[in-house]
Symmetry: C2
Subunit: 385 residues, 2 copies
């Protein structure tokens, strides 16, 4: 169902020839209205790809008619010619849809530092437009995959209120605090203005995509867009809408987590007893980025010393002799020293939970990451060859 | 020659049975004076091992008679009993040497979260004392190895001024801004007071060990000690001494770099054109910690986009469209976009140099790191088993 689950949206995914092998690599998502209110969040990386610079301009207007997304090339670090390529992409979509380029967002993903083959990309926009349909959500989600092994889609329906939220995402590596090589388009048939969508989106992203940190690398292309058609004719309560949107984002986050490049473990890091949410997130991220710990979890070794080493490198409020650590429910570290028998920890399941109790306050946060594996190294050594 | 190159020092390395396999695992370095001025720098990790807490106290007095070092166990996260173990180690060395425990520094390295087998460690101190000799520097360097494949030793002689600086180090993983699981003992027969030694040591470490960042993980045990015997009877110019000390530290840093766990590349990151040294170091570290780039270098792929992605995640002063990047001398990125042909980059040699020109000022800094390999993952998955 994906982005076409809500009323008012059509989508398509076609093969433009940007990727080797003839797989789908160009997606088009169109909002047929009546509303076209929209919001977006973008990478915090200061080196931003051309489509990010373009789409940030578009979203400033708060209206999006359509999104063109391509895999097979990030169009990042391509200078002024790369920006012109993105502009031409939006113009082409505008022409095909008989609309304004100023309301066409563009997203790209793939290798950095290479121009896109525009001679193949531009004609494919017409092909995609001809294939637009209410059933096109899955094909669109398929077209934005890079090293993703599966298409990531989700939707939730607010039964009583009478509206739907749908979404698709891609991203199997470089997932980091600033969303990292992930592209995501969320759609809804609820009728909400751009400001409300913006608040809801930022709130949802902050506790979902933004808490997924597989390798600490921040992409140049991260984009999450939220488009509202208003086709359901209802204006939901903002808090309820935000909660449902957060559910969709959490579902997509989980799909990104379990499909991360080369990962064999999905690690949930719960930080509790923190003096502030910010402290809890800082500690969670420090653990998520500790290569040594990620290797240990890969080796099914409950090496809590590496957890403490990571915590100790932060400036969060805590006393080293008051920190407790549980791995899969076994409190292997109590008061900063040896706790329960580490042999009781069963690390064979794919899902691993590391709980850190800072004993410093009432706040908490959850961060997700993966293990570090030889397969990760292999995939990222060979990616461009 | 190691720590016994300067006059006034004896050392020994023996097998206490802390490690499996009967290898040397306990080192003793003794300063026979006439001076025993000393300085030390320690991990910035807030979770500090017992020997770090102990040795910080000792160094506050500015005098060290001897250093006991063990591999086979970090004595970190071992609570009050672990601190008592360190204290007992110092007391035992003091008894054997007929000296004060308050002037015995202790260093440990190995697994976190396990008590040391004191029944084996304590008697070995007497064994080591009996073996102390002017030739013992290499045995001592051998005894502090963990996953180090070779002992790391260095010395430099100030021919005209008539003094010598020697040193030994260990550390093959967890090398990070705060020195990371590295232990290092530096010795000199120059006659300098503790304050001068402290300034010289901090200055030397800041541009050597502290710029080596193999995996961003900060150890609980890092310790670098500098002991002066004064036996050469000369008090050198501070600037000249600092320069020579920096040479010894740079030599040891290089040895740590090329022996880092699982690494196949020794990567030098030169950041030039920075607005400040701090900016240059920040950018260098961000690149050194970018797993994706480290995988690319492992795959001999001159993926400069990942360099820019790492730079863009920092808050250093720069404009994305003014950054230049060279890999092994080929300027593959100019003004933030495609530069010279990346096929000209030869990444087959072990030594790789990445040069980043921020075009933002006159300052520069060098940071060293390694590639990320399947062997790194393997070593760190299996370490404790």
């Amino acid at each position: 169902m994906s982005v076409t689950a809500p009323l008012g949206f059509r989508a398509a995914g076609v093969a433009a020839g940007l990727k080797n092998g003839g797989d789908r690599d160009l997606a088009l998502v169109v909002n047929d209205g009546p509303s076209r209110a929209a919001a977006g969040v973008f990478t915090r990386n200061r080196v931003k790809a051309a489509p990010v610079l373009w789409s940030q301009q578009v979203l400033r207007g708060g209206r999006v008619r359509a999104v063109v997304l391509n895999s097979g090339g990030a169009n990042a670090c391509t200078g002024a010619p790369g920006f012109q390529d993105t502009h031409a992409t939006a113009e082409q979509a505008a022409e095909v849809l008989d609309d304004s380029a100023a309301e066409i967002a563009v997203c790209s993903t793939g290798l950095i530092g290479e121009r896109l083959p525009m001679d193949r990309l531009l004609p494919a926009i017409g092909t995609a437009a001809a294939e637009l349909s209410r059933d096109g959500g899955l094909a669109a989600a398929d077209a934005i995959r890079t090293t993703d092994t599966v298409a990531k889609i989700s939707f939730r329906r607010a039964q009583e209120a009478g509206y739907t939220i749908g979404g698709m995402a891609k991203g199997a590596g470089m997932l980091a605090p600033s969303l990292a090589t992930m592209l995501c388009v969320l759609t809804t048939d609820a009728d909400l203005d751009a400001e409300t969508l913006d608040r809801a989106l930022r709130s949802a992203v902050a506790v979902t995509f933004d808490r997924l940190d597989t390798d600490g690398c921040i992409s140049t292309n991260d984009t999450v867009l939220l488009l509202a058609s208003g086709a359901a004719g209802v204006t939901p309560d903002e808090a309820e809408f935000t909660a449902l949107l957060t559910e969709v984002c959490a579902d997509l986050t989980r799909q990104l987590l379990v499909d991360a490049e080369g990962a064999t473990k999905a690690i949930t890091i719960e930080v509790v007893g923190a003096a502030s949410v910010s402290d809890a997130v800082t500690v969670g991220r420090a653990i998520a980025r500790n290569n040594l710990l990620k290797c240990a979890i890969h080796g099914e070794d409950p090496n809590w010393g590496r957890v403490l080493g990571a915590v100790g490198a932060t400036d969060a409020v805590f006393e080293p002799d008051q920190v407790n650590v549980a791995i899969n429910g076994v409190w292997v570290c109590r008061n900063g020293a040896v706790g329960d028998d580490r042999d009781k920890v069963d690390l064979r399941p794919r899902d691993v939970t590391i709980t850190v109790d800072l004993s410093a306050g009432p706040e908490s946060a959850t961060v997700w990451t993966t293990d570090l594996t030889a397969e990760y190294v292999h995939e990222n050594s060979a990616y461009s060859t």
